[in-house]
């Protein structure tokens, strides 16, 4: 057993876990943060993507102990209270989800992608960078639309913030 302590969605948390416990299982089972999903066993599907120290990470690829000392944001921590994050809002507006199972991972990956591309995104880039997130419902059409729309909204609001 190992002790882990980290900050999750702005809250300090700690626990004692079996050494082999993956971060995703620590989040789901120890913290009850069930928005992060497990859709495969081979780190392919991306349903478990969270942010670790500001970067998108498949939480099934790292052990909970490896994340000890890190700051983790999960889908539950993305919105600002009742106000949705622009990526969340865009997924709703553009029907970027159906069954909702891949959605948390998609949104966390998309948020990271937009952050990494302050210059803006085009369809080919979004499609290439979503390669690590599998969706079986939407055919990706509306997910791509939502990510592009969110990227625009976020660069506009950034521009406004700068101008101010």
């Amino acid at each position: 057993m190992s002790d882990v302590s980290l900050v999750v969605n702005g809250r300090k948390v700690s626990g004692s876990v079996e050494d082999r416990t993956l971060l995703v299982h620590f989040l789901r089972e120890n913290l009850g943060l069930t928005g992060t999903h497990v859709g495969c066993d081979t780190s392919q599907c991306g349903a478990c993507v969270v942010h670790v120290d500001g970067k998108a990470v498949k939480s099934c690829t790292i052990l909970a102990v490896q994340a000890s000392g890190s700051e983790v944001v999960t889908i539950e921590g993305l919105a600002n209270g009742a106000e949705l994050h622009p990526v969340q809002a865009a997924f709703k507006e553009h029907h970027g989800l159906q069954c909702g199972f891949c959605t948390p991972g998609m949104i966390m990956s998309a948020t990271d992608m937009i952050r990494r591309h302050p210059e803006g995104l085009d369809e080919a880039t979004v499609r290439a960078e979503l390669e690590g997130n599998i969706c079986r419902c939407t055919g990706y059409h509306n997910i791509v639309k939502a990510v592009l729309a969110a990227s625009k909204t976020m660069s506009k609001s950034k521009g406004k913030a700068k101008a101010a």
Partner: protein, 784 residues
């Protein structure tokens, strides 16, 4: 329609919980005292179980119990069954082999469940599962249906001699043969429809909880039809009587057919909960899903299509062998018969049709309905054959189709179905225009300059949805009726709950069903809640599959709304001292037509529940239920056009444009309909280009059992799609809806394959058209 009524592009009500991580799937459920299960599964495709030793496993840390099939039998739990009786052409009933939820003396495919381990944690359960020692005597196995029919093939079930489950036919063999004999041209093809794994992103899961105090079971399960699960587990598997069994399908992460069926795991978890005295949860990992979820398709077909000298189709002859896997799954028998062969007329006038279908056991995962179920197989063989015929006859594929279209309705096909409405030329025209079909030659020439081979292909599909008239399917062998139920409860202050037997696992029912109510009474959709997926809340239902929830599920809601409206009008008329016939309800108000007299909706509801001032003799309350049994199937149809560029050096196919023109009848929410088409096309393109379940013939091992090996379509494998709809309303249901859930998966594979074979000039290509196969086909074409 109003801003939230029928036809409005309303954003989904259910989205908020999913985008904030608040969705609740089976794996998210926690029950006090809950423990975890792992299944011990056969590593062999075919073997006798000689001995099972659980001593070591039982002594492992955290292990509560290890349970076996023998104990399950002793407790009277029944075998799994197929619920649709098919008779062979000689009149004998299908030959169903026994499927024990836990194998007792023989395993028949890799993944067959043998034992369940219950432990404190999931990891402990898995560790102990590995410590269960089973001695097997391996037997020869067979994975291909064609091989399983050969003499000397291993016998899989004693009940099915030569592995043949049934040998079934439909249509007129004599007339078909006669027409072929005197045809001006006959196109012959060997068609393989590849085996697919549905791959809903949420793996299957079950949580069984036996409550000793109440002698009552609760099962949370990833189901598309919790009521059917309860019925089957009670009536056939002897788990518990219906009044002692509650089945809950909460948020379910996609189904595509694979979550219709009742699998061994939910039965065993319920039984194990009683045996061990603790709630038992099992969640499949992805490899378990690949191994044990019901697969789809897997047909091998010989087809002949006959033409007269005017290029009119005169006959179609089909001989299909369908792989059923190791056991007959719940609806497996219906898929290659009544969901397949009854659609073999396609959109065409074909005077004579005959189809023969042989269903066969193999040592592979059970095969059942997967998005489209039978209709993609029918469409693929027809549309590949028509396109091939056009090439052989030297005519345009569009013209050949147009010449043979059915244009008058109702149209009785020679294979049971009676099409009620459609305009196939309208969809063809719309698709050709959207795809700029006329400009293709120029684009092809431009591509050639870049060294690319450009091709275009089309597919004109028809499907039968809105399943189904209960008496009709009953006469064809179905063990259940396929109606739907609904209850509309107006609360005392006018908010509304709609209870439905349909189940949403991505389809957006919480929004579209609420739109029906908003449309009827002019109340905001936020005041309407849709309740589904729980047998304790909703009395009965048949669930969601076969694109039936709009045409059948919503029609039941309409019937219940009719009754509610009638009573509400009576109450409003009484309150305003007006004539019932003069009352209209709109914009949340009941008013006397042509006057300014009105009563707000909430006051009508309140009056119903205070019951202080109701018409004489009227019962208090405002709540009505209805069952709707469709009078016919519905017939969505459309035209898909795919344009590809193939790189002859690498064999890589790029889809450069994909156009869908569908006729779904009336539409409740176009945004959701478009989403269904997108998703369907992605699965169809997946089948055509990427996906294929592959068993090693010698060992019977599934070699595509993870996302490392099975090519799921990713975002960069697909283009954006151009979708549009036209509308010939369905005459057989009150909303004029046809259904849209499966069209994309049905119509797209032949369009893709027609495009690639057009590009490379070689028609000898099977799905999935991987770069390797396409590259080889390009080279083969060059040699000729």
């Amino acid at each position: 329609m109003g801003i939230e009524g029928i036809g409005a592009r309303v954003a989904r009500k259910e989205d908020r919980r999913f985008i904030t991580g608040a969705g609740r799937y089976v794996d998210d459920m926690v029950v006090p005292g809950m423990k975890h299960a792992a299944f011990v599964r056969s590593p062999h495709a075919h073997a006798e179980i000689k001995k099972i030793d659980v001593k070591k496993a039982k002594a492992m840390p955290g292990v509560i119990d290890v349970l076996l099939g023998k104990e399950l039998k002793t407790d009277g739990i029944g075998n799994l069954i197929c619920g649709w009786m098919i008779h062979s052409k000689d009149g004998t009933p299908m030959k169903m082999g026994a499927w024990s939820p836990l194998a007792v003396d023989r395993v028949r495919y890799v993944g067959d469940a043998v034992a369940i381990v219950v432990a404190e944690t999931k990891s402990q359960a898995r560790d102990a599962a590995e410590a269960v020692e089973i001695t097997y005597k391996e037997l020869k196995s067979v994975t291909e249906a064609v091989d399983a029919l050969k003499k000397g093939a291993p016998q899989i079930h004693p009940e099915a001699d030569g592995n043949l489950i049934y040998d079934w036919e439909i249509g007129d063999a004599k007339a078909t043969d006669a027409a072929i004999a005197k045809a001006a041209h006959v196109t012959k093809m060997h068609i393989v429809n590849n085996r697919l794994v549905p791959n809903a992103m949420e793996p299957r899961a079950a949580l069984g909880h036996y409550d000793k105090a109440e002698d009552h079971y609760t099962c949370w399960t990833t189901s598309q039809n919790p009521h059917v699960a309860r019925l089957v587990m009670s009536a056939f598997y002897n788990v518990a009587p219906e009044n002692k069994l509650r089945v809950i399908a909460p948020d379910v992460g996609g189904g595509f057919g694979s979550k219709i069926y009742i699998y061994p795991e939910e039965i065993v978890c319920l039984w194990a909960s009683k045996k061990t005295g603790v709630p038992v949860k099992w969640v499949a990992d992805r490899t378990e899903s690949f191994l044990t979820d019901a697969h789809g398709r897997d047909h091998v077909t010989e087809v002949q299509m006959a033409f007269d000298k005017d290029n009119k189709i005169t006959a179609l002859k089909v001989d299909t062998i369908a792989n059923f896997g190791a056991y007959m799954s719940l609806f497996s028998s219906a898929v290659p018969t009544y969901l397949y062969a009854t659609l073999l007329s396609g959109q065409y006038v074909i005077p004579a049709i005959h189809a023969n279908v042989r269903a066969v056991y193999t040592n592979t995962a059970p095969v059942d309905a997967y998005r489209g179920a039978g209709r993609p197989e029918a469409t693929y063989l027809l549309e590949r054959t028509v396109e091939t015929a056009a090439r052989e006859l030297g005519v345009s594929p569009a013209d050949l189709r147009r010449k043979n279209f059915i244009t008058t309705f109702p149209y009785q096909t020679p294979v049971i179905m009676c099409y009620d409405a459609g305009d196939y030329a309208a969809s063809l025209d719309a698709a050709m225009k959207a795809a700029d079909y006329a400009g293709f030659a120029k684009r092809k020439a431009a591509a050639a300059k870049k060294g690319k081979l450009r091709g275009i292909g089309m597919s004109n599909y028809i499907e039968a949805c809105g399943i189904a008239p209960s008496a009709a399917v009953g006469s064809l062998g179905a063990g259940v009726g396929l109606w739907e139920s609904a209850e509309v409860r107006v609360n005392g202050v006018g908010t509304i709950e709609v209870l439905t037997g349909s189940h949403s696992h991505g389809q957006g029912h919480e929004t579209t069903f609420a739109q029906l109510v908003a449309d009827r009474f002019g109340v905001p959709i936020d005041s309407v809640s849709i309740v589904h997926g729980d047998t304790d809340k909703v009395q009965m239902g048949m669930g969601t599959y076969g694109s039936r929830s709009g045409a059948v599920g919503m029609s039941a809601i309409v019937k219940a709304l009719d009754k509610v409206e009638k009573k509400a009008k009576k109450i409003a008329a009484h309150l305003m001292e007006a004539d019932e016939g003069d009352i209209v309800i709109e914009n949340g108000v009941a008013k006397v037509a042509g006057t300014d007299k009105n009563v707000p909706w909430f006051q009508v509801a309140l009056a119903a529940y205070t019951a202080h001032n109701l018409p004489a003799g009227m019962e208090p309350g405002l709540k009505e239920g209805a069952f709707y049994d469709p009078s016919n199937f519905t017939f969505p149809a459309g035209c898909y056009i795919c344009e590809v560029e193939v790189d002859p050096e690498t064999g890589v196919t790029e889809i450069v444009q994909f156009v869908a023109a569908d006729d779904f009848g009336n539409i409740i929410n176009p945004m959701i309909v478009e989403g269904q088409v997108h998703g369907g096309i992605a699965q169809g393109v997946g089948q055509a280009l990427l996906e294929g379940a592959s068993y090693d013939g010698a060992s019977g091992q599934l070699v595509t059992a993870s996302y490392m090996d099975y090519a799921m379509p990713r975002a960069d494998d697909l283009p954006s799609f151009q979708v549009s709809t036209s509308n010939t309303p369905c005459p057989s249901n009150p909303l004029g809806i046809k259904g849209c859930g499966e069209a994309g998966a049905i119509g797209s594979p032949p369009a893709v394959m027609n495009a690639i074979t057009d590009a490379i000039g070689n028609n000898d290509l099977t799905m999935p058209a991987t770069p390797q196969k396409v590259w080889a086909a390009v080279r083969a074409a060059k040699k000729h």
